[in-house]
Structure formats: structure tokens, C-alpha cells
Amino acid sequence: MRPGNSRFVAGLALLAACGTGAPGRPGALAVTDDAGRRVTLAAPAARVVSLAPSLTELLFALGAGPQVVGRTTWCRYPPAAAAVADVGDGLNPNLEAVAARRPDLVLLYHSPLNETAAAQLARLGIAAVLLRQDRHADVARHARLLGVLTGHAAAGDSIGRVLDSVVARPTPPAGVRVAFVVWDAPPTVIGAGSYLDELVTLAGGANVFHDLRPASATVSLETIADRDPGVIAILADSGAVVPPVWARRPEWRAVRAVRAGRFLVLPADLFGRPSPRAPEAVAELRRLLAREATP
């Protein structure tokens, strides 16, 4: 993997540092979650169970890490999250395991299944918020919302401002044309609905499948060859091989960037989900794209 990971950690520490102090003010805290539900807490939550990796990361960035008492199996960032009790994979929450952590706030990804779970938690007297963190703008909104609920409102505002400024900064003209390939058989690419499409745009690149509305879609290999991206971006864990094995398949050789070995491997840890580290992700991607533009 490329160097630079230490920079991300340093950036995170900086963000987290903004969140120290500012304990919750007395009185009721009220927010509206992404399902339109009004959630009120008498005091900042002291015991939080997070059932989405992106929200766990955000809690730690806010400085609310010590208040997290439950997480999903997939919450791997920051490394400190590993010390928190695992309450399952978070997809179909095991409410007994969640309740056993005696939380006063549960964070759920906003999905129909989780709406049911939130209603069941309400019957147990446990407050739950449903949050859908799919886009860059969601992170800033959630930073402020969770800042209020966990008593780190100042940190939430600070993170929100930093994230807003990334979007506010004028986007440099679209240079390198990128196709984000997430799977090879059938060929599946990232469309405009994905956070990764936003990142590519913010970093000054152009996603050649920006015209596809869903987050990801199966396309014909012929279309990839025809749109002729300058570089193929792939998300990968640290052990990934470059170029990927499928680049050796004869049908993929019809794509010029594959033949030329133009692959951009992005660490899944930083690029895999919308996170408060978006500024680092954008900067890193901008650097990588600039390198592709001037070979």
C-alpha cells in the first residue's frame, strides 16, 4: 500500500482533538433523524451502541469513543473501536445483544428492517436514531446531530465545517477520466449515486459512468471499452494485488486502460465509506489523479 496512512491518522487525531471538552448542557436534547422521527434525550448519551461502521467512525472522531459500548463486527476503524463489545453484524440487529449493553442510545442505518428494530427498541425504552450515511453531505449533518446527542456539539460543528469546506472549495476542472470497477464478472461499476462518484468529482476527476444514477450497476464490458477511461480505480484491502487477477482475462484486455495497466488502487479503509476523513480522501485522490495525468 502507498505511504500516507500516518497522515490520515494524524488528521483524525486533529479532528478528535477539536472534540474534547464541551460537555452536554443540561436540559432535553432533541433531534430529527433521517426517518423523520423526533428523538429526545434528557441528557447526552453516556452509553451508545452503533450498528453501522461509518457511524462508529464518526463517534470516535467526535471524541465520543469512550461512550461507545457496542459496535458491529465490521467496525474496524479507528483501531480503538476493536476494544468495544461486538454485538453482531448489524444487518438484522440482535436486539437482545444490543439491550444487554444497557445503551441509552442506539444508532441504526436507515433501512426498512431497522425501522422495525427502532420501534422494538422504543418499546424497551431505549432511544434509537436511524441515519443513512451514504453521501458526503450526510457526514457533516450526522456529525452535528451526533455531536448534540453525545454532548460533543462543538466537535460536531467543527467536523461539519471542515467537511462543508471540502465541497465549498471550487472544483478543479475535470482531468483524468476514471471508471470505478467494483466487480469483474459481471462487470460492475460505480454510478452517480455513490459517495465514490462524489469523491472523484471533488478530486478533479470525472467518473465515466456518472450518467448512471444508482450507486453501482452492471454494465457491458463493451461500454467500458467504448468509454475508454484513462484509469481504472478499484477499492482494495491492504493485501490486494495490482493489477487485479481479472486484468489477465482476455475479454478485459479489450479495455485500453487495462491493457496499459493503468490501475488506481484505493485503500478500502479510507475510501470505502463516507467518513469524517473525506478531506484526506479527496487530497489523496487528487494527488493520485495528478500523477496519472502526468505520466
Partner: protein, 313 residues
């Protein structure tokens, strides 16, 4: 006459598959475009070969099991192939050919199991035993597959299911060459069994009296049809309805003689799958549908019509 029509349909389907596609390629450049040469042409030919193989395998199995519901995937092969594919992805079995090889191995494994179970009780390959064994092996493989999927990280394995739904995106001249070298042997075995399969339609006892070596024919037809299907699933995933539907359509036009039925099913299956794949590539372009969905969407209404026709007094 009907052979001429079928031949023209086959040629038309192949022509359309080469001319039509999500990338706009001017007619004059069809001969020189690398997209046509390296992607469309091998894909059209692979679709034809896979469709033909599935329909021929289905014809053979329907004759063997004397069951109109028989389809190449009925006897557990899709479950075995799916298990192979999911294992390949979960364990990261390497190489660009890992997935097809594992799917092929899984399908052959299921075939061997069903075959062994079919021999239980005196080596008869009784159709009822085979069907039960096929369903049981398929269900078992599906259960193991689901267990792996639910225990492993989900996002990658979701893609394994997408692959399994069928698609010809893996087509290349190499894939085509491998399949074209492999398919003639089981096809020839099925063709050689044409007359015994006709006799088998009368029942096993009469077939035996009329001189057919029933046990040998059953073994050969089952293994040849299954090996054809395993190869098809390795290059294109599980594509339903071609192997079920085309034999019935062919029987309506060509009657019950396997000597005509088998080649008609091959050409018909090839034509149907080539057309279905062209639709899969173009109707929602630049996105692509799994071709198995197109064959089901086209196949089910046609099948419903057939059922009405049979149901009429």
C-alpha cells in the same frame, strides 16, 4: 422448409448480436472495430454454443427421465456450481480462471453424487430416484452455499450470486475455443443415443425388447447431458429456461424423433440465447441485465401458452 427457417433464424440472431450493442459502432466500421472483434463476436458465438448445449442437454434429459419438467439444472448441477463459485470467491482461489474452474468442478461433483445415488438399489438409474437425488443434492449444496455467504463478508459474495444468475460477460476467443473444443464430444454421445432414446420413450421394458442396451444408454445420456451443462455453467452461470423450453418447442415442430429433435434443439437453443443476450446487452444500455432474467421473462409466457395448448381437450 422448417430447417431453412431455423437456419435463417440462427443466422439472423448471430447477425443481430454482432450489429447491435451498447457502443455505437457505424456499420462501415463493423469489420475493423476491436470492440466487435474482441468482445461482440466471441460473445455472440459463445451465447449460441451455450444455448445450443443447454437445449440439447435438456432434450436428452427429458428423453432419459421421461419427464417434461426435466431441465439441465433440475438434477442439482446449479447448486453444485453455485457452491463451487462461492467457495472460489470466499477462499480467494486465484487466477483469472478460478471462478469458472471451481463452478465446473462443483457441477461435476453434484453430477457424480446424483449418479451414485441413482445407482442405489441395483444400478438402475431409475428416473424417480434420480429426480429425488438431484433435488436433494441441489438443496444440500444451496444450504452449504447460504451458510458460507452468511458467515463470510457479504459484499463480495453478493456478486457471486449475480454471477450465478447468468451472463456472458466473460466471453472471449479463449473461452470460446475451450468450449468449442469440449462440447462436440458430449454432443456426439447424445447424437449417437438418438435411436435408443426414441425406444426409451416407449418404456424401459419395451425398449429392451426392441434391442436397446437401456442401462448403457441411460448412463451415457445422463453423463453427456450433465457434462454439457457443467461446461455451460462454467462460462456463463446458470441460465434457466433454454434447456426446458426449447426441447418442448422443437418437439411441437419436429415430433418425437431424437435424430431430428437433437439438432433442432441445438440450433433453436443457440438462436434463443443469442437473441436473449442481445436484449440483455441493449434494452437497458449501458447497463446490462443478467441473461437468465431475459430468458425467464421471455420463456415463462411462451411456456404458459404451451401449457394452455396441452391443456385444451
Amino acid at each position: 422448409m422448417k430447417w431453412v427457417v431455423l437456419g435463417l433464424a440462427a443466422a439472423g440472431a448471430l447477425g443481430a448480436a454482432v450489429v447491435l450493442g451498447p457502443a455505437a459502432i457505424p456499420f462501415a466500421e463493423l469489420g475493423t472495430s476491436p470492440i466487435v472483434r474482441d468482445l461482440r463476436l466471441p460473445r455472440a458465438l459463445l451465447a449460441f454454443l451455450v444455448g445450443g448445449a443447454l437445449a440439447t442437454a435438456g432434450t436428452g434429459l427429458q428423453g432419459l427421465l421421461r419427464n417434461p419438467l426435466a431441465d439441465p439444472f433440475l438434477l442439482g448441477l446449479s447448486g453444485g456450481a453455485g457452491l463451487g463459485a462461492v467457495l472460489a470467491i470466499a477462499l480467494g482461489w486465484g487466477g483469472p480462471w478460478g471462478l469458472p474452474v471451481a463452478a465446473f468442478a462443483g457441477a461435476v461433483g453434484a453430477m457424480v453424487l446424483v449418479y451414485r445415488l441413482g445407482l442405489v438399489g441395483g444400478g438402475a438409474l431409475d428416473p424417480r430416484t434420480m429426480l429425488l437425488a438431484g433435488v436433494a443434492v441441489g438443496a444440500f449444496a444451496a444450504a452449504v452455499t447460504t451458510a458460507i455467504v452468511s458467515l463470510a463478508e457479504a459484499s463480495q459474495l453478493r456478486n457471486a450470486f449475480l454471477w450465478l444468475w447468468g451472463g456472458l460477460s466473460g466471453a472471449s476467443w479463449q473461452t470460446l475455443a475451450v468450449l468449442a473444443a469440449y462440447v462436440p464430444v458430449p454432443l456426439a454421445v447424445l447424437a449417437a443415443a438418438a435411436r435408443p432414446l426414441d425406444l426409451l420413450a416407449l418404456g424401459e421394458e419395451p425398449a429392451r425388447y426392441l434391442g436397446a442396451d437401456v442401462e448403457r444408454v441411460k448412463r451415457r445420456v445422463y453423463l453427456a447431458a450433465s457434462l454439457l451443462t457443467a461446461a455451460a455453467v462454467a462460462v456463463s452461470g446458470v441460465i434457466g429456461f433454454v434447456g426446458l423450453l426449447v426441447p418442448h418447442l422443437a418437439r411441437l415442430v419436429w415430433g418425437h424423433r431424437h435424430r431430428a429433435l437433437l439438432p433442432a434443439a441445438f440450433l433453436g437453443g443457440g438462436t434463443l440465447l443469442t437473441l436473449a443476450d442481445t436484449l440483455a446487452r441493449t434494452v437497458v444500455a449501458p447497463r446490462e441485465l443478467p441473461v437468465g432474467i431475459v430468458t425467464a421473462l421471455v420463456g415463462v409466457p411462451v411456456f404458459a401458452l404451451l401449457l394452455r395448448r396441452w391443456g385444451a381437450p
